[in-house]
């Protein structure tokens, strides 16, 4: 009787265990598309069985195991971080790339050609008022487009700085979420859903910034920048902020800066994720064109050397061949007090008139200066790096194009790598609906069998009770 009753209890416990197993399967299925969720398995353990000693055996549930592979998760985070970097870089460089017209129909290359053509036409008719006016008009178009490009690049810089601020906000939101999960974990109230949210948050954070994670003994996860600055430690969040660092003693464009919660500059620690890519565009690629506190910028260098070369020739000559003719006036003006604003301030000398242009060179040749100016179209100029001004601008455009093309190629390649890494991770920890369907069948059958066993035992008990009562 005692054995029959213990068997009955064992069968009842089996029903409970299989109910739990079915619950785990149900949870797996319903979370199959939940970001960060890893398949869970109920551990089934056989209870001791020895009929001689009265051990009834049976099955027991010994906790739930997650299929999460931390190494695979770490690898996914690393690849996500690289993808975030290249995506931000590709987006930023693409905006810059679009500003450079290389069709020859408009923009600076077309303006340069038109100005050189006007110099050339002027060289044939140095005293022609029409030819002189054409020179001034063409110079005005070139200066306008150089200014326009400089201002557009400054606009891109402003957009990128705005994106940096937005990205920093996203980072702080995610680290706040991680901090809350850590707080729940340390209070022992976390569960599988917290684990999924933590994993998902860490992966999202990786796409934004380069991080390292350290799992602590109390189950919390510390998140640090790869340079060492903490973002989350236990239940404490260390929010970061973005700002602009003005160049000391200069009116050069400021650099983007990331500050830790104490206000220390941690920009150098940001080497990955979207924030790293944006900082690369803001502090490296754009300054190479429009300058900052450390460099003049190639577009400014182009504007300054071109204006100086043209002005130098014109100011060395005279406005006419007759003795006593006035010295030539500068065609271009720019803010020479700030080399980083040469492009954005380049303009035609507002006081110049056609009569102020000097076609006569210092030796008295009537069109010597005009010929020299026309020759600038193809003559290498020392101040322009021993290349013509057309080539100088071409090299600037090529460098921009190369940066954009490389970033796009890297983005495409990295997207594939991340997809492969995620696939590998999902193979080990993702929810397979086929597997879950199979387990569902198994547990259902096991539950039915246990229930049948219970029915049989119940029948046996009924028979026993009837025999005892009759």
């Amino acid at each position: 009787m005692a054995t029959l009753l213990s068997t009955l209890a064992t069968a009842g416990q089996a029903l409970d265990v299989y109910q739990q197993a079915l619950n785990v399967v149900q949870n797996n299925i319903t979370n199959s598309t939940t970001p960060g969720f890893a398949t869970q398995t109920l551990n089934l353990v056989a209870e001791p069985f020895d009929s001689a000693t009265g051990l009834a055996g049976g099955v027991a549930a010994k906790g739930v195991t997650s299929a999460r592979d931390e190494y695979a998760e770490e690898e996914v985070r690393q690849q996500a971080q690289s993808l975030g970097y290249f995506q931000a870089q590709a987006q930023g460089t693409s905006s810059i790339d679009n500003l450079f017209d290389v069709t020859g129909n408009s923009g600076i290359p077309a303006d340069l050609s038109a100005l050189f053509q006007s110099f050339s036409a002027w060289s044939v008719s140095p005293s022609s008022a029409t030819a002189r006016q054409s020179v001034i008009s063409s110079a005005g178009a070139l200066a306008g487009d150089v200014q326009s490009l400089a201002n557009s690049l400054a606009g891109v810089s402003g957009n990128v700085q705005g994106q940096i601020g937005s990205t920093v906000s996203q980072i702080n939101q995610l680290t706040a979420t991680i901090q809350q999960i850590n707080a729940q974990t340390s209070q022992g109230v976390s569960g599988p859903s917290s684990d999924a949210l933590l994993t998902s948050s860490l992966q999202q954070l990786s796409t934004l910034v380069n991080i390292d994670t350290v799992s602590q003994a109390d189950g919390t996860v510390s998140v640090l920048l790869q340079g060492g600055s903490p973002l989350v430690v236990g239940d404490t969040q260390y929010a970061i902020s973005s700002g602009l660092a003005d160049a000391a003693g200069s009116s050069a464009p400021p650099s983007s800066q990331i500050l830790d919660s104490q206000g220390h500059d941690i920009t150098s620690q940001i080497q990955g994720g979207a924030l790293g890519g944006l900082l690369n565009v803001s502090n490296s690629i754009l300054p190479s064109l429009i300058g900052n506190g450390q460099q003049v910028g190639s577009l400014n260098q182009f504007a300054q050397t071109f204006a100086d070369a043209v002005n130098g020739i014109l100011e060395s000559g005279t406005t006419g061949p007759q003795s006593g003719a006035a010295k030539g006036a500068a065609l271009f003006v720019y803010d020479s007090s700030d080399p980083t604003s040469a492009a954005s301030t380049l303009a035609v000398n507002p006081n110049i008139t056609p009569d102020d242009l000097a076609p006569v060179d210092a030796s008295g040749n009537a069109n010597g200066n005009a010929n020299q100016l026309a020759a600038l179209a193809s003559t290498p100029v020392a101040s322009a790096g021993n290349q013509s001004f057309t080539d100088f601008f071409g090299q600037i455009a090529a460098a921009v194009g190369q940066a954009s093309a490389t970033a796009q190629e890297n983005q495409q390649a990295q997207q594939q790598v991340l997809t492969q890494t995620e696939t590998l991770r999902d193979q080990s920890s993702g929810v397979s609906l086929d597997d879950q369907a199979s387990l569902l069948l198994q547990y259902q059958r096991s539950y039915e069998a246990a229930a049948q066993l219970l029915t049989t035992l119940n029948t046996m008990m009924d028979s026993l009770f009837e025999d005892m009562l009759t």
Binding site: T93, S113, S378, S404, G430, D434
Partner: protein, 305 residues
């Protein structure tokens, strides 16, 4: 989540993205005819494209300049031919004046000689596009005016040099326009009229006729012949310059054609190749979409009804 197609799905979507990107790029190239619309399309080709475009623009401008110079040379050439014709008429008049003439005949010859003298002065002030082409660097004014009180019958209004250098596209000098001083009024080192001085020659005829000086008229014949010879030499120089300009124009046309070919190689789309690639990519896309539609979206649950 692992679904039978899930891991594949992300890769599949990535592949579709790449196919679409290639399709967009090829379509853009075919429709625009150029494979480089922005620097990132082919960064290494950008400097070459811009240099070639600049070269074409400069060569085209130089052609335009030289066509204008050609017209100026034509105007100068025509003026010197007229001057030569006038001098030949003057030689004829001088020959007549070298023999005895009636007063009426002499007056008639004098009138004709003075008209020729005026014509030569006018020719020395020939203009083209509003500029005095024989005035050198002072091309906004004539250099000579008729002045009977002067030894050569003209007064020099200004002393001009000519430093305007006409070059080909490469900077080689094609032409430096001569001044009226050099053409009509060449001088010896001491400032006296040199042999070939047209103004001095015609003025000697005018004076001989005014003085009814037959010997003077005979001397004037020789002076006028020397002046005509000199004028023809100047015409020859114009002819040489016109040939040089014509050669330079031919060279520039060839240069522009070569530069356009270079530009085409650097920038133009390979339309035939692109058309083939377009077909291939479209086929790839259709195949990929077809496969995608046939990938099983079923799992074991589908059969557990």
């Amino acid at each position: 989540m692992i679904l039978p197609v899930n891991g594949v799905t992300q890769s599949y979507l990535d592949s579709l993205d790449r196919i679409q990107s290639t399709l967009d790029s090829v379509t853009q190239q075919v429709s625009s005819g150029t494979r480089v619309s922005q620097p990132s399309d082919d960064p290494s080709a950008v400097p070459g494209i811009l240099e070639t475009l600049s070269q074409i623009a400069q060569d085209t401008q130089t052609k335009s300049n030289l066509n204008e110079v050609n017209s100026e040379l034509g105007a100068g050439d025509a003026a010197l031919q007229s001057a030569s014709t006038a001098l030949e008429q003057a030689i004829s008049l001088a020959s007549e004046a070298a023999s005895p003439q009636t007063a009426s005949q002499n007056a008639d010859l004098l009138q004709q000689a003075q008209a020729i003298q005026q014509q030569l002065v006018d020719l020395s002030g020939t203009t083209f596009n509003g500029q005095y082409i024989f005035s050198g660097d002072l091309d906004d004014q004539p250099l000579y005016a008729l002045d009977a009180s002067q030894p050569e019958g003209v007064t020099q209004l200004a002393n001009a040099t000519s430093t305007r250098t006409i070059t080909d596209g490469a900077g080689a000098t094609l032409w430096v326009p001569p001044t009226a001083q050099e053409i009509f009024d060449p001088k010896n080192a001491d400032g006296s009229a040199a042999s070939g001085n047209a103004f001095a020659a015609i003025n000697s005829l005018v004076q001989a006729l005014q003085n009814n000086d037959q010997a003077g008229a005979t001397t004037a014949v020789n002076s006028l012949k020397a002046a005509d010879d000199y004028m023809n030499q100047q015409l020859g120089l114009y002819g040489i310059a016109e040939n040089r300009v014509a050669d330079a124009l031919t060279g520039l046309s060839s240069s522009v054609a070569n530069a356009n070919q270079t530009l085409s190689n650097l920038r133009d789309a390979d339309v035939a190749g692109d058309a083939v690639e377009l077909t291939q990519v479209q086929t790839q896309q259709q195949a990929a979409l077809s496969v995608g539609s046939k990938l099983s979206q079923l799992n074991l649950f589908s059969y557990l009804a």
